[in-house]
């Protein structure tokens, strides 16, 4: 198990429906939360990777503005984007900048200020989330893309709308305890089943909602990590894959092929298997996505994700607690910040900092982060040195 690159700091702003901060201020909030007063770590950063989906930004090329807001102007800075997995793209980029020897300490900062767009602008962008040449002309939306997977999963395995609701029941239980989550209301299965239909079989409460927020990680080489912290969280495995942007070129609708490939890569690199993971964050942009993710990651065989969920195995105290910070469903989904927020939760779990939602003795954690319906997929495995 290689320990060459570590996350030495992780932070985020609260995710909210509408932030009163500018994008630079949001990023500063996440950066400050990550540093926790350590000026030394801040000064050691020698490059910055900024993660956002620019279609939501007023600011063209936000990387320079973010660097300036953090006092990092002068260092190399650029933007990376892969829709909702932009944050994981950023971590992968930082890892390779460090392993390639160009930099020792790299900050990865992701944000989205989705409330800056009017609802008309949101509706316009909503219609361009698929392949614009062949599939947007039919009115494809992001929720509809995932609903097509939900329908196929239900048909193949007997998954029901009540099963989907259980995912949201669980996430609302943990979101209530997460003071950084935007949507902290507790829901019962009946509430979810009675919410307005959006794209069958998904209803309003099966879908995550937009939010404003930022998250930040500081990533360091082994030498720098050993110099700067006593509590590094090592990057043990990285997996990344893609799939066609058009749904017409997909082979499978019960599973996300790219996520399965990324998981295999990450497990192989880390030298561990699904049974070794103590805690996981998976990309629950919709309730169905969490069920499919637990299958794609090998926590349950294909078609058995519902059983894993219904047995309580993905809750605290279960075999593999999943999204015990409330997930995207509970926290809200500021696109560019989401992947980094997932990683922050796992860093905190591996450092034993999660209080009431701490998974006792967690030493190896996993993050599963998607861009679109598996157009991009990233799986990251992190580990701590704690006994």
């Amino acid at each position: 198990m290689q320990k060459e690159v570590a996350i030495i700091a992780a932070g985020q702003t609260p995710f909210t429906r509408r932030s009163s901060s500018s994008l630079g201020e949001l990023c500063f909030g996440a950066w400050r939360d990550a540093l926790r007063g350590s000026v030394v770590i801040g000064k050691s950063v020698d490059a910055l990777v900024v993660c956002s989906a620019p279609e939501y930004d007023r600011q063209r090329s936000p990387a320079g503005v973010v660097a300036e807001s953090l006092g990092l102007s002068g260092r190399p800075v650029f933007n990376v984007e892969s829709l909702c997995s932009s944050g994981s793209s950023g971590l992968r980029t930082a890892y390779s900048l460090i392993r390639g020897g160009l930099h020792e300490v790299v900050a990865v900062v992701g944000f989205q200020k989705m409330s800056e767009l009017s609802s008309a602008e949101v509706a316009e962008r909503m219609g361009r989330s698929g392949d614009v040449m062949w599939e947007s002309p039919f009115g494809l939306t992001q929720p509809a893309g995932f609903a097509l997977f939900a329908c196929a999963h239900m048909e193949a395995y007997g998954t029901s709308e009540a099963d989907l609701a259980e995912v949201r029941v669980k996430s609302s239980l943990y979101a209530e305890q997460n003071e950084h989550a935007a949507y902290r209301k507790r829901f019962a299965a009946e509430d979810i089943l009675a919410s307005a239909p959006v794209v069958s079989p998904l209803k309003m409460l099966d879908c995550c909602a937009n939010a404003d927020g930022a998250a930040a990680l500081i990533v360091a080489s082994r030498a720098a990590a050993e110099r700067l912290t006593t509590d590094p969280v090592w990057i043990l495995g990285l997996g990344a894959a893609s799939d066609s942007a058009t749904l017409s070129n997909r082979d499978c609708f019960t599973s996300l092929t790219s996520a399965r490939v990324a998981a295999e890569q990450a497990y192989r690199m880390a030298g561990v298997g699904p049974g070794d993971i103590n805690v996981a964050e998976v990309h629950d942009c919709f309730t169905i996505t969490e069920i499919i993710a637990t299958e794609d990651l090998g926590f349950a065989p294909p078609g058995s994700g519902v059983r894993l969920l219904r047995e309580g195995q993905t809750r605290l105290g279960g075999r593999i607690p999943v999204n015990v910070d409330g997930g995207l469903l509970g926290k809200g989904h500021p696109v560019g910040a989401t992947g980094l927020s997932q990683l922050r939760t796992i860093v905190r779990q591996l450092r034993g900092e999660c209080g009431a939602t701490q998974v006792q003795g967690a030493r190896i954690g996993l993050v599963h982060n998607l861009g679109g319906p598996g157009i991009y997929a990233f799986v990251t495995i992190l580990g701590s040195d704690r006994p």
Binding site: M126, S136, L140, N249
Partner: protein
């Protein structure tokens, strides 16, 4: 008819496979086939992703396919207000292609189900636009 007239709302005005839209006008939904290796593609492509050839011909998808999955959309994007609710679906055809599109209004009103046989048909829209949809064989 140009490719800018494809679909309820289009975003791409120009393409080397823009003729797809003229075929719709003649009632045909076409895939592309590589003249060099025979690879069939849908959506149609002028460049073959299998062998790199840029020589292609048109081939009609006129057979009966089967529904793989579908969803009824109650909230649509800008420009689709008049279409709501509509059913998006995916079907596979013996030719070896998978096609994404809408179910016809008639078919959407029945109870669609996975495995249901469907055919592709051109759909003429207002303002001289054209698209395709899945219909009963």
């Amino acid at each position: 008819m140009s490719f800018a007239d494809f679909g309820v709302r289009s975003f791409v005005p120009d393409s080397q496979v823009g003729e797809f839209a003229s075929h719709l006008r003649q009632g045909k939904v076409m895939a592309s086939r590589c003249r060099d290796c025979g690879h069939v593609a849908f959506p149609p492509r002028s460049g073959c992703t299998n062998c790199g050839s840029a020589a292609f011909e048109w081939i009609a998808i006129d057979e009966v396919g089967r529904l793989v999955t579908y969803t009824r959309v109650e909230y649509g994007p800008a420009g689709f207000e008049a279409e709501l609710p509509y059913v998006l679906a995916i079907a596979r055809f013996p030719l070896g292609v998978t096609v994404f599109g809408q179910l016809s209004r008639e078919l959407a009103q029945t109870q669609p189900h996975v495995g249901m046989p469907v055919k592709l048909a051109a759909r003429l829209l207002a303002n001289n636009r054209a698209s395709y949809h899945f219909v009963q064989p």
